[in-house]
Amino acid sequence: MKSNRALGFFVLGMVLFTVISCSDDFVEVDSNDPNSEAFFNTEQDYQDALIGAYDMLQSTYINVMLGEIASNNTLAGGESATDVIGIQQIDDMIHTPVNQQLRDIWGWMYAGVNRANFILEFQDNLEFEGKAAVLAQARFLRAYYYFELVKWFGDVPLVVDKRFVFGDQFEVDRTPKAAVYAQIEEDLIFAAANLPYVQAETGRITKGAAQALLGKAYLFQNKFSEAASVLENLIQNGPHALLTDYTNMFENDNENTVESVFEVQYTDLEGAGFGCLQCSEGNVAVGFNGIRNYTGPTFESGFSFNVPTQEIFNLFEAADVRRAVAILDIDAWAAETGATFSVGFEHTGFYNRKYISRQGDLNTGDANLTNPNNYRSIRYADVLLMAAEALNRGNIDDNRARGYLNQVRERAGLDATDLGGSALTDAIFLDRRLELVGEGHHFFDLVRTGRAGSDIDGFVPGKHEVFPIPSIEIELAGNRWQQNPGY
């Protein structure tokens, strides 16, 4: 009985003990995952965060696709008139502030800005060898994402060397485009100064990439002499050259070539799903652009978006080797190979051959979302054409301009031109369109050169130069921002 009574006391004691002893710090537990506020303690931490900032480059597939569809090069396509309504509306220039794809661009580019700023916010935590190169890459990335944002939306909230945190969205205003460009220029000048032309690892940002993007940013502001200067500096000092053969430039085994100044890296090593397209390590645009229900050689099936028009097909001269590379005439191809396919919405008979699914990859599921084709973001041909344009439009030197243009034309199998002045300008514009068709540049080229109103059906000058800020984004920031004019 004694031991039983002792047990009774034990129970009672335990009860009292628990009531008294459990103090409030029982519910203070730290997560197993690193806290972002106390992170940058080693060089590896900086490298890891930098990879995170690179990651958002892969989500720019939608910028590329829509940049093409918005132009007069391609139609939206897809399965039906309501297949991804946001894409359909942009094609028809009837887009409104309610547009999921525009919202994707807005959100994904800002995610990239925040990831780059995360590193820069804590840039003084630690000194190590090679830190300048890490910061240079981060600043290039920030500039890249901001350049996309100003291209699409004009004035956008600018944040430098710190992340936007919850609550900031109710305080921050839209920064004038010029100030955003000033930051882009500053970042790219820093990046160019602190990066080598050749990186040991493929996929890393180089000095050439920074110079090319800087030149492009100048060109978008019509700063022709600055553009010409930095682009020619790259042409003269950089390691880049045109590939002699245009025909297999966009094939998988021709990635990161000497012509590639900056290339967004994709792979088929990891699976992906529709629930998070931005999470894919593959090039989602390639599957979207692919041939609908295709069975046959060389290519693979896709969703038949972004289909080239007859007009762009006809624009190529017969001798131009680029047409067969850029545009697939599916009927001719089917007749030749016995391939079968089905007809999607707005079927033109053409596919954007540079970026459609090809056989030979791993087809990791969902195979439509994991195409490994890198996006050739800035090609040397683009650099040459930008330099030519800057030199010509800035009235700096038509000779040099013509020289750069002719390098591109000759590689395409065309005769050299001897035009000058505004005729040369038109020739540069035309060749730029043909050289870069399918690569997402044309809409913005038309806008920045004032040609969009005449070339794009439905384009309203004074309105469509920039896209509307998604109205929900205006609301979520406290309804303080002015919508872009006309929307």
């Binding site: 009860v15 009292l16 997560s31 806290n35 965060a49 995170g52 229900n293 920031a477």
Partner: protein, 1005 residues
């Protein structure tokens, strides 16, 4: 030591003043089996006894006129006035509906009479009759205010339990405790182990503080009785299941005609130039539905010695799916041991151990491209296999529709749960009025499984085509424990003032680890670990969790002569889910009751046996959000390709909000309980109003914060108020026409009005759900509407002529300009333009009224039960149609528009661009239904017939569950829902709840 001495003194004095008359007696249960362990108390005296193993008891020192009170948990208390000293024979009746029935409430029990809260109880008898495979099904239609919807009819799938509506757009599950132990996944509980289910619906659940906002369900398992023989209870049933419904899909001929018409309408060549001879074609639903077996066997052993009681049970259930058969199999093994011991008269310990093992295989269901979705959309002109005996490819049917038979054959997965739960408690009574209890409950669960996706080709462009074998293996561990310690003080003053005070603390910790790896290009039999290259699915962290609660609570219950009842509770909770500023919350609640029938003016009323008014009000909390959302962690996804290889970096996970705090619910309940006509009629009516404020939600947030980055998500914010209010009414009638004919009728009804009062996330709207392919989310949470209401276009018939089209505003903004035969959309906002601003409320998935009707009839040895429940006013979105040129449709398309005046409801068939597939009320249907949930006929063999000393009872029965459903809904199962607060009620081809035919027997010996 002093109080022990005091106790001795008390006993001693009781003996001194005792008189010499003694009385013997025996207690029996209704089957004339001796009942041990019955408490016998001489009313108003410190005298009493407990009946022994054979039911015998002896009372000393009693006199004529003394009142004896016989009580035993689970039995009606009886009172007998002593008129002589002859031996007594007392038969105790098991209580189902007695006022003295003890109801488990938080950290204690109360009699029904003393309850001041809205509490419902489902007894083991009901569970026995319903034979649910999952315990929560026993609540369906049984209890007012509780809505059960199935996520699916697939074996082993979970149900959504909603107590008094949807109060948050986060986690709406109630807190579920099995013998005090938190069990989130009820699929591990064997229904035949359950003694009772108590549902705490109002603020009296406040004793559970922060976890009580969605209501509390307390499940008590069966225990043995002290002083009882070893008894065996064996039950088994077997049967088969079939689908309740097949949708009327078009035959091959009708299909071909429809397809031809739609191609012709767009000026395209006819795909089926020769329709003759197509016949009925393949009935794809027949190909995927099958009759599936189910069987269940249970054995329970109970017994008890003088100071101990034991209960042991084992059970095995196996169930195939009506779609997929063995590939949708669920099986479950349970073993349970309860052991209670009175170490001392004032020291009792109880312990229980539960083991459960479940194995489940599952098919793709209720999604775009799920098996039933495919069965409905697959062309009937295709055969299952082609001439080479290969599965037919679903060419031309859109990218998501594939051969469903092929799909089932390629489905390989298994999820195994092994769970061990233990509870140990000790109760120590001291100082006469005090009781201390300490108890610890712990769960350990392993969830392991795999999925394997073989190489497959279903047709060109199909999104399910798979070029690489993929196998994923996972092994998750979950551990938790709850430690409760509390002291009670219970005393009656002056035989009038009953006071019961509880003070306690509760500590809860749950930890676990997720492990999951994926490998490509390996066979199904190869272990992922043996693959050359393995991907860690928790590369970004987030695989270890540790969340805790620290709580203190106090409760005071007081009543005056069981006439005026008061109760007050306050609980302080600390949770790891919140930041340093907001870690702790205090949740008070109170309730009152007035038993009018104890008042003199009703005391002698012959009609009213019992009448009680009660009310409660309190603040309950909710912390059901993911861990660590107040701090910015680096568990996002930051992966890039360098040197053609994946490089894993780091990135921010979910956006943090340091300011998040408790969601609070203000819960008001006013109710009345009554018993009339000699307790034949029982009534309960309640009005409730639950207003949830500071709703913990993760609404869309400004994109500049980066919430849409890989691995990131929106922050949790306190942004919204929701109100649920309604009435509950329950009435029961017990009648006996003769000694051999007895019947019971119970009816309950609940009305529910759900309204969002505030959404302060910036936009005033939170969206969710999905409809069709690539369309805007169809469901919304918005001020002034029910949570998760459907937001879309209102239709206004069908355009009959081109003139009508021309007279109407352009519908181009919806996708295409209209033509005759297309749906005409209403210009809801009257601005002369049809655009997205014309979308508005077009229904909601929340029923306005739910009802249950339960009948039972006993005629001699036959017993018959029938359970019916009904849901009225809930809408469902028909979303199982792929709407492609060549996908199949159901027969209502035969009534389509084919020319002016042919239809005002169903649009024309065309392959051309139309806006007809845009989300509108054309796709919203009334989901009201009445369902006969269960019918059962049983026969109990009489003792005479059995002619056996050994067998106590033997019953055989036949039952049908899900007998029939009356509904206008065109889909499979109006009772199904994904359960999502925003995005629920959208039907992609729900796996219907099967109709089940069972034969079974129960044997007690």
């Amino acid at each position: 030591m002093r109080f022990t001495c005091f106790l001795c003194f008390a006993l001693f004095t009781a003996t001194i003043f005792a008189q010499t008359n003694s009385l013997n007696g025996t207690t029996f249960d209704a089957n004339n089996v001796p009942l041990g362990g019955v408490n016998v108390i001489v009313s108003g005296q410190n005298n009493g006894a407990i009946s022994d193993f054979d039911g015998n008891f002896t009372l000393n020192g009693v006199s004529i006129g003394d009142v004896l009170e016989f009580s035993y948990i689970g039995f009606d208390t009886r009172q007998i006035t002593i008129s002589n000293f002859n031996d007594l024979t007392i038969v105790m009746q098991e209580n189902a509906e007695s006022l003295d029935e003890v109801v488990v409430v938080g950290y204690g029990t109360q009699t029904k009479k003393e309850l001041t809260g809205a509490v419902s109880v489902v007894s083991s008898a009901t569970i026995d009759e319903l034979k649910p495979t999952q315990i929560e099904q026993a609540l369906q239609g049984q209890v007012s205010g509780v809505q059960i919807t199935n996520q699916s009819g697939a074996p082993g799938s979970a149900s959504n339990i909603r107590i008094r509506g949807i109060s948050t757009n986060g986690d709406n599950r109630p807190l579920i405790l099995v013998d005090g132990n938190v069990i989130e996944d009820l699929s591990v509980v064997n229904p035949s182990d359950v003694a009772s289910i108590t549902v705490l619906k109002d603020a009296t659940a406040g004793i559970y503080g922060v976890r009580a906002a969605n209501g509390v369900i307390l499940i008590t398992t069966k225990t043995g009785r002290k002083n009882s023989e070893v008894k065996f209870d064996f039950g088994t049933y077997f049967g088969y299941q079939q689908t309740t419904r097949k949708l009327p899909a078009l035959s091959a001929t009708d299909y071909a005609l429809l397809v031809n018409e739609s191609f012709a309408a767009n000026g395209e060549a006819l795909p089926f130039p020769n329709v003759a001879g197509l016949g009925a074609g393949t009935d794809w639903q027949d190909e995927v539905f099958e009759n599936a077996p189910i069987s269940n066997t249970t054995l329970t052993v109970t017994g008890g010695g003088e100071k101990s009681s034991t209960s042991f049970g084992v059970a095995y259930l196996t169930q195939d799916g009506i779609v997929g058969g063995k590939r949708a199999n669920f099986d479950r093994f349970n073993a349970r041991l309860n052991y209670n011991l009175d170490v001392l008269e004032n020291l009792k310990i109880n312990s229980s151990v539960l083991f459960s093992g479940t194995t489940r295989k599952a098919l793709s269901e209720n999604a775009l491209g799920s098996v039933l979705f495919n069965a409905l959309n697959m062309a009937p002109t295709f055969s299952v296999r082609d001439e080479n005996n290969r599965f037919t490819l679903a060419e031309g049917l859109g990218n998501e529709v594939i051969n469903p038979v092929h799909q089932i054959k390629n489905t390989f997965n298994e999820n195994r749960v092994r769970k061990l739960s233990g509870a140990f408690g000790a109760t120590y009574n001291f100082l006469k009025y005090f009781e201390a209890q300490g108890r610890i409950q712990a769960n350990y669960a392993e969830v392991r499984g795999y999925s394997f996706n073989p190489i497959a080709f279903y047709g060109s462009g199909k999104v399910f085509n798979n070029d690489r074998e993929v196998k994923t293996e996972y092994s998750h561990l979950f551990r938790d424990y709850t430690f409760d310690a509390f002291i009670k003080y219970k005393r009656t003053f002056n035989e009038a003032h009953n006071l019961d005070v509880t003070l306690g603390t509760s500590v809860f910790q749950t930890t676990g680890r997720f492990t999951s790896f994926t490998a490509f290009d390996i066979s199904r039999d190869t272990r992922v670990a043996d693959a050359p290259e393995v991907i860690n699915n928790f590369q970004n962290g987030g695989n270890i969790f540790d969340s805790r609660l620290l709580s203190y609570f106090a409760r005071a219950q007081y009543n005056y002569k069981e006439k005026y009842l008061f109760s007050a509770v306050v609980r302080r909770d600390g949770s790891t889910k919140f930041g340093p500023e907001n870690k702790f919350g205090i949740f008070p609640s109170g309730s009152v009751g007035w038993v009018l029938s104890e008042e003199s003016f009703l005391n002698d009323n012959s009609t009213i046996d019992f009448l009680k008014l009660r009310g409660s009000y309190g603040i309950l909390g909710n912390d059901r959000i993911p861990d660590y959302r107040f701090v910015s962690l680096l568990n996002g996804e930051g992966v890039y390709v360098i040197n053609d290889e994946l490089v894993f970096g780091i990135a921010t996970g979910a956006i943090s909000n340091p300011e998040i705090q408790w969601e609070e619910q203000k819960s008001l309940n006013v109710g009345v309980d009554a018993r009339l006509f000699n307790n034949r009629v029982t009534l309960a009516a309640d009005y409730f109003n639950r207003t949830t404020t500071n709703l913990l939600v993760a609404p869309e947030v400004s994109g500049i914060l980066g919430p849409t980055a890989p691995g990131s998500s929106a922050p949790i914010v306190n942004a919204g108020d929701v109100r649920n209010q309604g009435f509950e009414f329950q009435i029961g009638y017990f009648g006996d026409i003769s000694k051999d004919v007895k019947f019971n009728i119970n009816y309950n009804v609940t009305t529910l009005d759900n309204e969002v009062l505030k959404v302060n996330n910036g936009t005033g709207i939170i969206q969710g759900g999905s409809f069709g392919v690539g369309q805007d989310p169809p469901s919304r949470m918005e001020t002034g509407f029910p949570i998760g209401y459907f937001y879309g276009y209102t239709t206004d018939g069908i355009f009959q002529t081109q003139e009508e089209v021309d007279a109407h505003p352009s519908q181009l903004a919806l996708g295409a300009n209209a033509q005759p035969g297309d749906i005409r959309f209403a210009d809801v906002n009257g601005d002369g333009v049809i655009n997205p601003d014309d979308r508005s409320y077009i229904g909601d998935p929340i029923p306005d009224i739910t009802m249950g009707l339960n009948l039972s009839l006993d005629i001699k040895n036959f017993d018959f039960q029938m359970y019916i429940f009904s849901s009225i006013g809930n809408e469902i979105v028909r979303n199982y149609e792929r709407n492609q040129a060549r996908t199949n449709r159901t027969t209502y398309y035969l009534d389509r528009w084919t020319g002016a005046g042919t239809s005002t409801e169903f649009p024309r068939a065309t392959t051309g661009a139309t806006s007809n597939a845009v989300f509108s009320d054309f796709y919203v249907e009334d989901g009201s239904f009445v369902r006969a949930q269960n019918m059962q006929l049983g026969y109990t063999f009489s003792q005479k017939l059995l002619n056996s000393e050994q067998i106590d009872s033997f019953r055989i029965y036949a039952s049908v569950s899900n007998v029939f459903t009356l509904t206008k809904y065109r889909g499979y199962d109006p009772a199904a829902s994904s359960g999502a607060p925003i995005g629920g009620g959208i039907d992609f081809g729900f796996y219907p709840t099967p109709r089940t035919y069972l034969l079974g027997l129960n044997l007690k010996f």
